[in-house]
Amino acid sequence: MITFSIDGESVSAQPGDTVLRAATAAGIYIPHLCDSEGLEPYGACRLCIVEIEGRRGLPTSCSVPVEEGLVVRNDVDAVNRVRRMVCEMLIADHPLVCLSCSANMNCELQDVAAFLGIKGSRLRRTVRKPILDESNPFYTRDLSKCILCGLCTRACHELRGVGAIEIAGRGFDSRVAAPGDLPVRESICTSCGECVDRCPVNALWAKNETVPPTSLTRTTCVYCGCGCGLELGTRGGKIVRIRGDKANPSNRGSLCVKGRFGMDFVSSPDRLTVPLIRRHGVFEEASWDEALDLVATRFNAIKAEHGADALAGLSSAKCTNEENYVFQKLFRAAIGTNNVDHCARLCHASTVAGLARAFGSGAMTNPQVEFEYADCIFVTGSNTTEAHPIAAMSIIAAVEKHGATLIVADPRRIDLTRYATLHLRQRSGTDVALFNAMLQVIISEGLADDVFVERRTEGLEALCDCVADCTPEWAAPITGVPAEQIREAARLYAAAERGSIAYSMGITQHTTGTDNVMALANLAMLTGNVGRASTGVNPLRGQNNVQGACDLGALPDKYPGYQNVEDADIRATFEAAWGVALSPHNGLTVTEIVSAAGCGGVRGLYIMGENPMLSDPNLNHVQQAMEDIEFLCVQDIFLTETAQMADVVLPAASFAEKDGTFTNTDRRVQRVRAALSAPGQARDDWAILCDLSTRIGYPMAYDSPATIMDEIATVSPIYGGISFARIEEVGLQWPCPDAEHPGTTFLHADTFTRGRGKFHATPFRVAAEEPDSAYPLLLTTGRYLYHWHTRTLTSRSEGLEAICPPVPIEIHPDDAAQQGIADGDIITVSSRRGTLRANAVLTERSPRGTVFMAFHFHEGAANLLTNDAVDPIAKIPEYKVCAVRITTAAVTDDAVSPVQEKQKNQGAAGLITTPA
């Protein structure tokens, strides 16, 4: 601690703090306009000038580091005299429209002027007309209000690594501009809104913020696994403002375009507001009693006739921990089957399987913010800037601020490659060959961390045998990566003091997914890069609460806390806790449930907040299964593609309307809080489930999600110390076994969860379906920044739709040329399983021979094409590799697969009849 004084008042600060930030922390106001958390000192507004005893002139307090005994004078005439004139200059150049300005009462220039007692400006007024740029769908910029504090440009560069805007011109002509003074929409802006958030005078303002909120609610974002803290401003039953929660350790106030601007769905007129029952082929509105009784009756009847295992449930990674707990309890305790799974099967099942085998725990080892302090980051199979934009900020900061080495192994030239020292473009589906060759280099060149291997691991011999012949020269023709690049990557990673691996679906969604994950674990263990800060193997989780849904046992083989259902002792514990006998057998996975539904194995299906009719592979097969199933109940906030096939549809509350917790990719359990009431008769998911359970014959009643969490703590040791009271301000990272435990920042510190880390031999296998003469191109799938999964939420945002309309397919220009395809052409894409239409986007982001589609769009559902072949261990489908052909030939409507057609012909509203 350092102690110094400001105007005679003693102030304490941390070394490295600036005088300004120390003053702010101590509650002392030093006027300023261009300083902001997370950004380097800039010194442009010149309002934070102070006198410092023994120093010349008026240094800016934003740039002076605190020193012991510093004597600072802030609120004194000599300083304020200069500040007043500077403030007058700003006012003379600022439109005096305070009353009609969106910043009124919330304007930092007003604060400064008020503090200095400005009564007016004696200076010459400069008359600037509004200089509006309204091109971006989410925000407007008025340069006439701009005070050139540079916060927007710096946030764009320094924090987000984007650099869409800069200051152009000189002197009085200086202005914030995109390159060439083009409208900002035509720049590389990703609409994250960081600039809007930082603007002190609302020269940038969000278009959807028309009135200030009357109430603020701290909660957690519902999109990806980054788990950003949100502050929802509400008024009149609507969200009127969204800000990042600066106190949240994961996002520290930052948000991406979806989090900041993509919440229109909450107030969408398409929200489900009443229960629906299908009668004579069409939906009719019904009462809750009618609907729930019908579900209970049908489920009980199927169970009575075919046994409990004829029923299955898909829980939801979008719902809270408490709801997932109640869901699996409903199926296990009330119904009596372990047939409960959720979409983690489709994203990180191979992570859970692979890391559990290697380390004993399937979660991200280190939190995302620790990327910033890694000295080498190996990113593979993760398009981080689009899929996990906030995690990407830490990766970019590592490179840009601290000079870290970034290695990207990805077939596509993703944005992150802009920062990479090395970009390895392996062919999709050859990751194991690449990793084995890196392992071979590390072993053969003696780069392994022998001490770590000796002390902490086992099974190295099996690995050595497996990779002995996997030289870079062997891997080069398989992967398409030059041998020298493989060597360099291995050396760079092995040489790192703090090497961190980040990966996502590009690794997991393969028939070799589990092997891919174990090969990465091998790399980390071999080089000693586990169990310390800023190291580890870090699977970036996709959904906001996919970590929590797994943690809470929405898995067919695990009770809450990853406890095996086939372990008799554990089962006995749960039987005691829940007061019923439980099924001793593992249940079915998502992919198995869909197959079983098609052949009568599963007759009744309950789906909460999932949309397999777009998200699962080989959609024609899924559609058949959904049509064949005897009884389908869907609980959701919209009438999704899946809900449209249901017998009963139950309207649920969105994340903004309920209390609970989400667990983010950092394993951090964070609060979700109701900011609004649910529309119509929609109810909290947990409340619906409890009601249903009671009707089925197993009464469940909780007075609040907090009570559910208390029960979770008693049955799941990793959540043992977690309660709503403890996570009121900041979340806790599991494992957190007791009420005194501070949570666990990174895993495997002294010992792996399973004891010793285990090396696994992972011999290379080819993908299930390779391109051939009939289907010569490889299709790989993924996501775009501007949409979320099956677009149920993001399609309700006009802005997101405008920036990213359906349905692009990325094709290398050479491949397009071969087929005579031009940029923007509507083309036909076919695989052995389906056919669709898409818009050709010619880009070298795709390597030759590979095309890319996102799976968001029902108008051209990529999963019509994908292969439902699965990984033998994790049962995850191979979304990332299948064979397709592209052609300009006009496709007949008959040939286009039915899911697409159904969407085209029937609007959601047309399916509903309202009782007279």
Partner: protein
């Protein structure tokens, strides 16, 4: 090759060049010479020589400093003393050559020999040279700047050779002992600056030469680079050795193409000679230099803006700390010195600190170059010991004010400097005394003004410059200079408000005290010094709506003197607004309300009857 061998080789190679009895023609071909027509001479010379049957080598040399006499031509012959001819035109060329190479005489300015030749004084005895001490400019006009042997033959690189044989710390001590201060304007002690950088720990350090000379009216650095590029390069290598830098940049404005060409050649030659590059003179010290062309932003002369520009970023200054000595280019310790500072070093190291301190005042040691411009008889580049008085510079060396007009002010330090009035004509020019007078040394531009200059208009001119050249980052500089310009403009247009003068003082104070970098901190100096020394002129403008020098159009009143008006109606015909009325052969009158002060009547009247007040 040892340095002694390099020297011997250079002396042999340049022997005839320095032999004034070896027939040779030297043409001053720096930018000043070229602007005055040196290229025409160079083009015409072969024809004349052929016509005269002469086979004489022609060499291009740098600037002798007598820019007002350009183009300059120096003739050598075996039989006559060398003569310097001024204002040579292609038309006069044939006669000059024929006469000199025929009789050994000519209508020359001076002899370049040691003694007077008839009525011709030796060059050093010319009034403009008298009182000058040429250290930095020692080679100007005396060597071919593109010939490295010439530089070496005149003791070039001896200082470097000596420095390399010393521990780096001793080199720094020598520079500290000499008291050399930065010649770019701020006057920070060079040795101290080096010491900071030397002590900063890093494997990589940078040595940068700031050749972004941007002051209007200043051309010292350009002259150094064009006339003697190796002296700057040698200084850079010495500095790099002292601080431990292995890489360097010369940041030079793209508007100096000749300087860039000569620097590029100098770098190549020095590399070929083993005086630059790896393992210089076998010392184990390596240093590589690149040239970075600036795009003409005045602010890029500021150290941190210059660094940003080299890094490819927008040229904007940043806050200090951290200082470049700790975190400069690419975050590595970096030392930045101005061209003239570096050009002082070869001699400083060659002759030692004590020789350096022989010139100057206790706090401002050595000599300083100045660019004389404006209303002065002898414009050009001079070098005098620091502490020389303004009178000596302006009147003795510069020859005073042309056309018998009175001296009114001298602006030192360019747009960041201040205007010094006649009362301070005895002011010794050094860092401290100029600052006390409200001006600054700056890089060395001296713009002289005569009695016909309006000081309000001068201030407006300089503010127009700084307002445009402000990088726009910090508020006081971006908006404060704009405010000052707006107020000054309204004063010169006659629509000022009461209190404007005091308001300008307040604004100026805030801009000076509040700005981020030197540009803003000095930008109000022209306003402050003109108000300080010429307040009455401002008051005439504001209170009486009158510009005493009749410079500010907006304040002029045109009237017709009935005593001299002949009623010829010439003015009536040219007046675009029909403001002039009157019968033929009777005195006319001007309606001031209609008059737009276009000056057409004034220029037309043959009888000086139009009066401007």
């Amino acid at each position: 090759m040892t340095f002694a061998e390099i020297q011997t080789r250079a002396e042999t190679a340049s022997h005839t060049f320095f032999d004034s009895h070896h027939p040779r023609i030297l043409i001053g071909a720096s930018t000043c010479g070229k602007a005055a027509g040196a290229d025409d001479l160079l083009g015409a010379l072969p024809g004349h020589l052929e016509a005269l049957g002469l086979n004489i080598e022609v060499s291009q040399v740098g600037c002798l400093g007598l820019c007002y006499e350009e183009p300059l031509m120096e003739l050598h012959s075996a039989s006559a003393p060398p003569l310097l001819f001024s204002r040579v035109t292609p038309e006069r060329l044939g006669d000059i050559l024929a006469t000199y190479y025929g009789t050994g005489e000519g209508d020359a300015l001076a002899t370049m020999g040691p003694q007077a030749h008839g009525a011709l004084p030796p060059f050093e005895a010319l009034p403009m040279l008298h009182g000058q001490v040429r250290v930095v400019s020692r080679n100007f006009g005396r060597i071919d700047p593109e010939n490295m042997d010439h530089y070496i033959a005149r003791n070039g690189y001896t200082g470097l050779a000596r420095a390399l044989a010393m521990p780096a710390e001793e080199v720094i001590e020598e520079v500290k002992a000499a008291g050399l201060r930065g010649r770019g304007g701020a006057g920070f002690p060079t040795g101290l600056k080096w010491e900071f950088c030397r002590k900063a720990e890093s494997e990589q350090k940078y040595m940068i030469c700031n050749a972004d000379e941007g002051d209007p009216g200043a051309f010292m650095d350009r002259s150094v680079l064009e006339s003697d590029p190796h002296s700057t390069l040698e200084g850079m290598i010495i500095g790099a050795f002292a601080i431990g830098a292995s890489e360097g940049y010369i940041y030079v404005r793209a508007e100096y193409p000749l300087a860039i060409t000569r620097l590029e050649k100098a770098i190549k030659q020095a590399t070929d000679y083993g005086l630059l590059g790896d393992n210089i003179l076998g010392s184990g010290f390596s240093f590589h230099v690149k040239i970075k062309k600036g795009a003409g932003a005045f602010v890029c002369g500021e150290e941190t803006a210059l660094l940003a520009s080299i890094e490819g970023k927008r040229g904007m200054p940043r806050t200090r700390p951290p200082f470049p000595a700790h975190s400069g280019l690419h975050g590595k310790p970096t030392n930045i010195n101005n061209v003239e500072t570096l050009a002082n070093l070869p001699v400083l190291l060659e002759r030692g600190a004590s020789a350096f301190t022989a010139n100057g005042t206790p706090k401002s040691r050595g000599t300083k170059t100045f660019a004389l411009a404006g209303k002065i008889v002898r414009t050009g580049l001079i070098e005098v010991p620091l502490g020389t008085t303004l009178r000596r510079i302006i009147f003795d060396i510069g020859g005073g004010i042309p056309d018998g007009k009175a001296f009114k002010a001298v602006q030192t330090g360019g747009p960041s400097g201040g205007c010094i009035p006649p009362d301070l004509i005895e002011l010794p020019v050094d860092y401290e005394r100029l600052a006390e007078a409200g001006a600054i040394m700056g890089s060395g531009g001296l713009v002289v003004m005569d009695e016909g200059t309006c000081m309000v208009d001068v201030a407006r001119y300089f503010l127009e410059f700084t307002q445009v050249e402000s990088c726009g980052k910090c508020v006081p500089c971006r908006l404060g200079t704009r405010q000052l310009l707006q107020i000054l403009t309204s004063i010169t247009r006659g629509d000022s408000k009461p209190g404007d003068i005091d308001l300008m003082l307040e604004v100026s104070h805030a801009v000076k005290a509040g700005s981020l970098c030197g540009l803003g901190q000095t930008a109000p100096n022209p306003v402050l010094t003109t108000i300080k020394y010429y307040r009455h002129e401002y008051e005439s403008h504001v209170n009486d709506r009158c510009c005493p020098t009749h410079t500010c159009e907006g304040l002029l009143r045109y009237t017709i003197n009935p005593a001299t008006c002949t009623g010829c109606t010439a003015c009536v015909k040219v007046c675009p607004t029909s403001a002039i009325t009157g019968e033929r052969r009777a005195a006319h009158t001007i309606d001031t309300a209609t008059c737009i002060r276009c000056d057409a009547c004034f220029q037309t009247c043959k009888f000086d009857a139009i009066m401007k007040t």
